[in-house]
């Protein structure tokens, strides 16, 4: 059994327990051990790209460094955490000045310079487990279900740092859907923003964005939509005015693996 450092993030402890719960149980069923670092801190939710912002990057570096010290890759599920941590890792590895400033703050035993490999849970499924292997473990396939993958912005961009998939023509979630027996629905708005945190002060804008996404998916005949991001799920459900069901991808994964009673039929 391969062990990974697992970073749940703030929201998975509270509002997005399903995302977390089924990620853990599915991983176990797939032979992956997830080990949560004892003292993780919130990643901050959004990456500050500014080069003169150091303090906002520290918690992500601490997380990365703890994975490094355990000599394990780091796995994230929440798109936002993933985005913050991967961008931080990229900048630390590629921007020497920033790296030295960060290390000056942290005073680690050994400076951190981007050594940790960061996987999104989906990347772990693709690159470690393998979608073919996953498909073989599926007991409840989503046969005939037309499932629309919603990437949003955080999973793919900026593509230089995230390097997860082709940012304009991604396939990782579609391949996941195929692996669990469903039929992926391709729609143009799958990599456009849901409105994100703007929901706090501008419901109208959030609603405009999330309804555009839902309309596009519905338009292409989706039965349901899946996401990896709690905020996306919130916006799509609450602000879009659409009835199309929205799930975390881990929920479907767990269902397919027979670990969860489902919304199958």
């Amino acid at each position: 059994m391969e062990t990974f450092t697992y970073y749940p993030g703030c929201t998975l402890r509270t509002k997005a327990k399903d995302l977390d719960l089924y990620a853990r149980s599915s991983a176990e069923a797939l032979g992956i051990a997830l080990e949560e670092p004892a003292d993780w801190q919130c990643c901050g939710g959004a990456y500050t790209t500014a080069k003169d912002e150091i303090a906002t990057k520290l918690s992500a570096v601490r997380t990365l460094n703890s994975a490094k010290e355990n000599n394990r890759p780091l796995i994230t599920v929440c798109s936002a955490c993933h985005n913050v941590i991967k961008q931080t890792n990229y900048d630390i590895a590629n921007d020497e000045e920033m790296a030295s400033k960060v290390n000056n703050y942290l005073k680690l035993d050994e400076p951190y310079s981007g050594e940790t490999t960061v996987y999104h849970y989906l990347e772990m499924l693709r690159d470690v487990v393998g979608f073919d292997n996953l498909a073989q473990k599926v007991v409840n396939p989503f046969k005939g279900k037309k499932i629309a993958a919603y990437y949003g912005c955080l999973l793919l961009r900026p593509s230089k740092a995230l390097a997860m998939d082709d940012p304009e023509n991604p396939t990782i979630m579609e391949d996941f859907i195929k692996a669990i027996g469903g039929t992926p629905v391709i729609y143009a708005q799958r990599n456009e923003c849901c409105g994100g945190y703007i929901t706090l002060e501008d419901k109208a804008q959030a609603s405009k964005r999330s309804s555009a996404v839902m309309r596009s998916a519905q338009d292409q005949g989706a039965d349901m939509i899946i996401t990896a991001c709690p905020l996306c799920l919130y916006n799509l459900k609450k602000n879009s005015g659409s009835e199309l069901p929205v799930y975390y991808f881990t929920e479907l994964l767990a269902e397919a693996l027979g670990l969860k009673e489902g919304n199958h039929e």
Binding site: K15, T48, C153
Partner: protein, 127 residues
């Protein structure tokens, strides 16, 4: 034209605004375009001109969703979102210029709103 502010924004963003070829693709792809008074391509151009204060005083800086669509799709690798972020930081770093008061938060909440939204807003609005 404010030279110091311009330099600060350029340094903080790490963006070379001179690479812009004025194609407007950033503004063509921006999901917040209609909510903004100044649009991504204008951010780039106005920073080049040194017209930073106008941008700092505009609500546009709080409308960017940081979705990086402009960053990824810019044919010249200009990264407009990083400019917007640098200008916003320049604004909220000024004393008493936080965009959000933590006391307002409780009334914004509903049962399902993920923490993520709040911490992100903190990052974006408050210094």
């Amino acid at each position: 034209m404010n030279k110091n502010l311009k330099e600060q924004v350029l340094r903080s963003s790490g963006v070379d605004v001179l690479k812009c070829m004025r194609c407007g693709k950033c503004s063509g792809t921006c999901p917040s375009y209609d909510e903004m008074e100044y649009h991504p391509h204008q951010f780039v151009y106005m920073v080049e001109r040194g017209d930073i204060e106008t941008l700092m005083n505009s609500k546009s800086i709080y409308k960017c969703l940081t979705c990086f669509a402009c960053v990824d799709r810019c044919p010249r690798n200009v990264e407009p979102a990083k400019i917007v972020e640098a200008v916003r930081l320049a604004a909220i770093r000024q004393q008493g210029n936080n965009h959000m008061n933590p006391n307002q938060i409780p009334e914004m909440l509903d049962d399902d709103l993920p923490q993520q939204a709040i911490v992100t807003a903190f990052r974006k609005y408050i210094k």
